[in-house]
Each structure stands twice: as structure tokens, then as C-alpha cells.
Symmetry: C2
Subunit: 346 residues, 2 copies
């Protein structure tokens, strides 16, 4: 079984998600700058996985400080490392959440000798990793209870083991239903431009022996209109306090079509994905990526020379299109501004 | 300037739309079976262009009959040729419409000597071609009157010169507005799996000097939600009597999102695209194409080995999502079952 990300004595080992499914290649990163580049270039992607990678990146950067570094320089280095990792991608909130956790741990360790700080930060990053896997499993259990019959799911992008510490959010729900003995089938949107669905979701589901049909993103409406889909389940990169959900570009189209076709639409994400500072989705920054991801696929040119392309990486699904949000602390139904806050104990 | 299709003494010359925009290559087809294969394999595509190609294919097949062929065999050959060309693609009605026109001409020529029949059929095919270009230009004029201000359009697939005898339906409207001196810009959905938008629409609009931004299909909703689009205009492969419209897969998602975002949604097609025999869109056969078009792009494998894919080539947009249908005889507004019939003089 593959591992999305792992802390080792040699460095942070990640499966290279750019070359899956044709190659199963691992990279070992030994400098935090390499971790920042890996997040930016999508060697690793998926909101929870990015959070784990950033936490490990902070630990890695601090681990490399020489033992004799004076305390003031240690603090400066910590700020620099966190800043560089925070600047990699703007939309997924888990990145900032994980860095904040590392900051809290660093604050706790003030005054300790550097080796103790380093060990403490490594332990905290590994704890974030383990907690994410455990949160996914709980989330899967809560989601499973919603699907008590055989179910054909539609999913968009990849919210599986590859997008998280290891088990998956949207795919975590799907595999939990599958493990409960229900007959499960999945339609996977290919998810241009990066093809997370065609490449990653299809690969994960194949390993889990869950029957999967890949479709292009523009087929989702037709398939739902034909009555082939019982439920849509997707992940999330950031959820506002009112339930508005930023997720991979195209999610909003699927949500609107699901509503039109009367198919329930579920978001599955750990509660750490909820940004309670944001009242509504309008404030979520949408990353604009390199247009070359649209005009080319693995070096193959699709468009005429010199044509413009846009590449917004996320969109926001307004909360009225969301049936429920499945979290690691329970399932939130509308009104989300009340139910999400309650789950978070706020 | 490129030519989509042309009748020449050597054979039927077509631009190969599979290799655009990276190569501008022409093929010369000398047997009707090659024309059938070219339609099936999408060397030529687009409902009106397929109609022209099929008519020319019939003329080409008949032209090759030896002068001494007995009348009964001529009739048999005509039926065989029409049957083979009609079996190439099921959704676009223009194919069947064009073959019916050739059948009527053949019936008129009953009793004539074979050379006169052959010349008559060639002339009829060329007339269908010329009429299509003229119909597109009239359609463009009618459409232009709807857009009296600077306009940013969204279009899906390719309904341009390449999809027709030469001028374009949806792109015919856009270029007519552009020629009228209004400032025009276009967002072009890439239109997986065949990438007609990224490859063909972008290429045509570039030659017309109309500013174009290619987006992946799943970005259309986000771009409309941001208020960037004034109007959507698309072509059609078959329109039922009530206005339900079959067009390239994904069109329905764009239409539903346009309605959600209060963006007007126009269909542009010659009246020959309306199938008055069909009361509603449910009866339109949807072509299922080779899943390999989804799992691969020009030989490049996207998905894991052995994964399933679906490839419905069209979907049906229910008429309530359509603001108006722009035809070569005027613009039809709802209720379409009345207005389309009136335009057709039925």
C-alpha cells in the first residue's frame, strides 16, 4: 500500500502525485524549501495533506539548525520557515491551521534547549499526521451512517488517501460505506486541468476494488440527469462559517446540477477545514495557477500558440446547495452557521 | 483562409480537424467509404459540416459508378451509399436531413441517363454546401441584432466555420457582432474529450482577431458567477419541436449554470437542425463514443490501466433553460413549439 507522506530520519518521503498513475515514484525531501516547492508544484496536494506537509516542513527546517544557533536566530528562522511555507498556496485553510499548530508548539517550547525544541516540533508534526488519519476514519464512520443502501456516488477531484494523511475524506466516506458491505460504485470526474480524478481517484478506488467509471467534468450533469447517481460527495479546501465551501474548480457546477437533478450533495472534511473567521465564502482567496496547466497536458500542447487561458484552481459552492457537511465530529445539517459552531464547541 | 470542406474534381478535400491547431493538414477523399470513416473518426465534425460531408459523400459514391451500370443497380448502389453514410453518427439531425435532400434529388432524376444523375447529385451536394454558408450568414445577422453593446460571450465546443459549410453558427453570431464594430471577447470551454474549444474555437477566433480565453469545462460556472459573461451562445446537433436541444456534452451544465447566474443562454442553428418529428428532447439518440477518447489524449494515457470510462458525446438542454434560438429565418423565443413551427412555415 502506498504512503502519501512519511517522516523518516532521512527526510520527508512523499509519493509524487504529478506522475501517478503511470509511475509510483517517491521523493525524499531534506530541506524545507523543497517542501515548499513540492506543495507549490503539487507533488503533494489536497487540503489535509498540504497541512501535514507544511507541519513536517516546519519541523524539517528547524531540525537543520546547527546546535549552537543563538535563541534569537532560532526564533527568526522559525518565522522565516513558516512564512515561506504559508506562501505556497492561498486557498486551503489546513495549511495555515497546521502552521498555527506548529507556532503554538514552538511558543510552548520557548526557553527549552534547541534539541528539545527540534524534537518537540518533529513530534508535533507527526501528531498532526496521525490525528488527520484518525479524523478521516471518524469522518468515514459518521458518513457511513448516511448511506444504508447500495449507493452510486459521484465525486469530483481527489479527496482520498492521497489528499490527506492517509485514509481520505470524501473517499473515506465512500470506502467506509464499501467496507460496511453495501454495494458501492463511483463515477469520478476527471477534474481538469490537473486530472486528480482521472489519475488519482481512479487509482485509489482501483486498489480498493470499488467499481469506478471515469467521466470528463462536463458529463457529470448528463449522468445525474439520467438518474444514475444517488449522492455526490466531495472534499473541501476551506469552509466558511455559514457552510459556503471552496473546493476544486468545478465543484460548484456539480453542486448546482445535483440540486437541479435532486441528488443530495455532501461535503466531507475535518472540522479543521472550517474557517470560523470567515462569515461567508466570498472572502476565500481563490488561487490563480499557471495557464500552462490548461494549455498543455504533460508537455503536450492543446491550444494554438499564443492563446490566453485562465486557471482559477478553486470555486465556492454556496451553502444552499449543500445537503450536509460530514466532519470528524459529526454530520452538520443546515443551518450550518449554527451546526458547525456547535460541532466545534464554539 | 482555411476551407472546412470542398468539392474538387480529384475528390472531397477536408481539413483534418483531429490534428488542428498544431497542424493544418488537408485530406482528399476519393471513395464514399472514406467519407463515412472521416465522419465517424471526426476528421470532420459539427452538425452542419457533417450534413455537407454526407451529401458530398453520396455524390462521390454515385460519381464512381461505371457508365454502363444498369438502372436497378444504380438504385441499389444509391441505397447502400446513403445507408452507410447515415450509420456514421446518430445524434446530429443534419446528417439525415442532407441525405434526405439527396434522396429527393435522386427521385427527381429517375429515368435520366446515369451521367445526368451523377451531375445532378454533385450539383445538389454543392448547393447544400452553399446554402449552409448563406444560412449561417443570415443567422449571424439575426443574432447580431440581439447584441447592441460590447459583449463578452461564453461558448462551448466549436460551432464555427469548421463545424459548418464555412461561416459558423454560434461563432457566426459572435463574428457578426464583432464585424458590427462592437467590442467582443470570448471565453471558450476547452470541451473534453475531443477539445473542440481549446483546439478549434481558439484557432478560429485567433484568426478573426477576437480576444479569446480558453478555460477548462469545469471553470464555466465560476466565470459566470463572477459576472464576467454577458451571454452564452452555442450550436446544436438536434433541436426537438419544443426547443429541447441536443448539443455537445456539457452544454446542459453550462445552460443550468447560466440560468443560476442569470446569464442569457442562446442556441444558434439553421432551421434544418430542428427535428419536428420529435416532440421533445427525450427521444434524441445520444451517441456513445469510444472510452479511449476519455482515457487518452493523442495517445497519452491519463487513467490507470484497466479503469472504465463513459463517453456520451451529447446531452440535452431542456428548453426552459434556453433564452432564444437564433436561426437562419429569424430568432425564436419561447414558447418554442409555436415560434419554431412558425419560422418553418408549418
Amino acid at each position: 500500500m502506498y504512503k502519501t507522506i512519511e517522516w523518516t530520519d532521512e527526510g520527508i518521503v512523499m509519493i509524487d502525485q504529478r506522475v501517478l498513475p503511470l509511475e509510483e515514484k517517491y521523493v525524499c525531501l531534506t530541506h524545507y524549501q523543497e517542501v515548499a516547492a513540492a506543495i507549490r508544484e503539487m507533488v503533494i496536494r489536497g487540503a489535509p495533506a498540504i497541512g501535514v506537509a507544511a507541519a513536517m516542513g516546519v519541523a524539517l527546517g528547524m531540525k537543520r539548525l546547527p546546535p549552537e544557533t543563538p535563541p534569537a536566530e532560532v526564533t527568526g528562522a522559525f518565522g522565516r520557515i513558516c512564512g515561506e511555507l504559508a506562501a505556497t498556496r492561498p486557498t486551503a485553510v489546513n495549511l495555515f491551521w497546521a502552521i498555527r499548530r506548529m507556532q503554538q508548539k514552538f511558543d510552548e517550547l520557548t526557553g527549552e534547549p534547541l534539541p528539545a525544541q527540534q524534537a518537540g516540533l518533529i513530534a508535533e508534526a507527526c501528531r498532526i499526521h496521525e490525528e488527520d488519519i484518525a479524523a478521516n476514519r471518524r469522518l468515514g464512520e459518521y458518513g457511513r451512517a448516511l448511506f444504508t443502501a447500495d449507493t452510486t456516488f459521484l465525486t469530483h477531484c481527489n479527496a482520498g488517501g492521497l489528499a490527506t494523511g492517509g485514509y481520505g475524506t470524501a473517499l473515506g466516506v465512500i470506502r467506509a460505506v464499501h467496507e460496511s458491505g453495501r454495494k458501492v460504485a463511483v463515477f469520478a470526474d476527471e477534474t481538469r486541468p490537473f486530472l486528480q480524478g482521472a489519475r488519482l481517484t481512479a487509482w485509489e478506488l482501483q486498489q480498493l476494488n470499488i467499481p469506478t467509471t471515469v467521466i470528463t467534468d462536463n458529463m457529470a450533469g448528463h449522468i445525474m440527469a439520467q438518474g444514475k447517481i444517488d449522492a455526490v460527495v466531495v472534499g473541501a479546501d476551506r469552509i466558511a462559517a455559514n457552510g459556503d465551501t471552496a473546493n476544486k474548480i468545478g465543484t460548484m457546477m456539480v453542486a448546482v446540477l445535483a440540486a437541479t437533478c435532486q441528488v443530495p450533495f455532501y461535503v466531507a472534511a475535518p472540522l479543521s477545514t472550517v474557517d470560523f473567521e470567515l462569515a461567508e465564502g466570498r472572502g476565500i482567496p481563490i488561487e490563480q495557477r499557471d495557464p500552462r496547466e490548461v494549455t498543455h497536458i504533460r508537455g503536450l500542447q492543446l491550444t494554438p500558440d499564443g492563446v490566453s487561458a485562465a486557471n482559477p484552481a478553486f470555486d465556492v459552492t454556496p451553502h444552499p446547495y449543500i445537503t450536509a457537511i460530514i466532519t470528524d465530529r459529526g454530520v452538520a445539517f443546515p443551518p450550518f452557521n449554527e451546526t458547525l459552531a456547535r460541532l466545534a464547541g464554539r
